[in-house]
């Protein structure tokens, strides 16, 4: 007699209790999910910015080196020929001085307009101007960086 009478009560108590736990677990899960998502997004952003900047340093270095090996204008003119300057910009942006595929820059959004080339008799400087690294939520504006200068080494290719 005792058992059948107590069963509904026990059942009701158990279900109230279970429902309450499930609700708070859901709220906790949602809260931690938001926190985790924000943290992972932040980590992704910073990681992606570093990765992109590393790629840009390598690309700009290649451009500066290439430019330093090119002949200068005649009669002490420090400028290189316009075709060579274009080749340097292409090398930085597409990884190739004469690219066949101009749809894939080394970093998304990079164009030859962002690449600045300064040549003198004894050095070549390549830098990026006005380029923004487009990470998830923030944009890292790169004006004048990375900059790489290579010396002109007389006496043929190195």
């Amino acid at each position: 007699m005792r058992r059948p009478g107590s069963q509904p009560l026990a059942h009701a108590r158990g279900s109230v209790c279970a429902r309450g736990t499930a609700g708070s677990a859901l709220i906790e899960f949602a809260g931690s999910l938001i926190l985790l998502a924000v943290m992972f997004a932040g980590i992704f952003e910073i990681g992606y910015s570093f990765y992109t900047y590393g790629t840009l340093v390598t690309a700009v270095r290649a451009g500066a080196r290439y430019a330093a090996l090119q002949p200068r204008g005649a009669g002490g003119d420090p400028a290189v020929a316009p075709a060579i300057a274009d080749a340097v910009r292409n090398l930085v942006v597409y990884g190739d001085p004469a690219p066949t595929d101009r749809t894939k820059p080394v970093v998304p959004g990079l164009t030859t307009d962002h690449v600045e080339l300064i040549t003198s008799q004894d050095a070549s400087t390549v830098s990026l101007h006005g380029f923004e690294v487009d990470a998830l939520f923030m944009k890292v504006k790169l004006d004048g960086r990375p900059t790489v200068t290579f010396p002109v080494t007389a006496g043929g290719p190195q």
Partner: protein
């Protein structure tokens, strides 16, 4: 959770160090070439090589580190006859055909402090260039 954060933080610190290393390597490559151009078997040549190694760390187009924000100051230039022993001030300047430029910077760390009580870690890069009769080349 702490482990997760620690690992993520580590990857940020180490990623930053790799960027700094790439910047320093570009600098030492250019500096070593610039120094090697000046090698001519005289003491004056060695002095000019030292100046040449540092010239891209200054001026309006200076190469920098930490995503192009900090000036490179710690630059060591050494010379060698045979690439086995390196001397900053060699006695026989006439035979020095190799020049090595090393740069090191204190890279700031944020998350690595969890494991070690340090505020920065040294990141370094070095390049070796040589001058032959025909050309100036990077070796390493």
């Amino acid at each position: 959770m702490t482990l997760l954060l620690g690992l993520a933080g580590l990857s940020i610190d180490i990623g930053r160090m790799y960027v700094i290393r790439a910047e320093l390597q570009s600098f030492t490559d250019a500096a070593a070439l610039s120094a090697a151009v000046e090698l001519d078997g005289t003491d004056g040549g060695l002095a000019r090589a030292r100046t040449g190694a540092a010239r891209f760390a200054n001026g309006p187009h200076a190469m920098r580190w930490d995503m192009g924000t900090q000036a490179i100051t710690n630059i060591a230039t050494s010379f060698s006859i045979d690439q086995t022993s390196w001397q900053e001030k060699p006695r026989q300047s006439s035979d020095c055909r190799f020049v090595r430029v090393a740069a090191s910077v204190p890279a700031p760390v944020i998350f690595l402090r969890i494991f070690q009580p340090l505020s920065s870690a040294t990141v370094a890069a070095a390049s070796v260039a040589t001058k032959t009769a025909q050309s100036v080349r990077l070796i390493q």
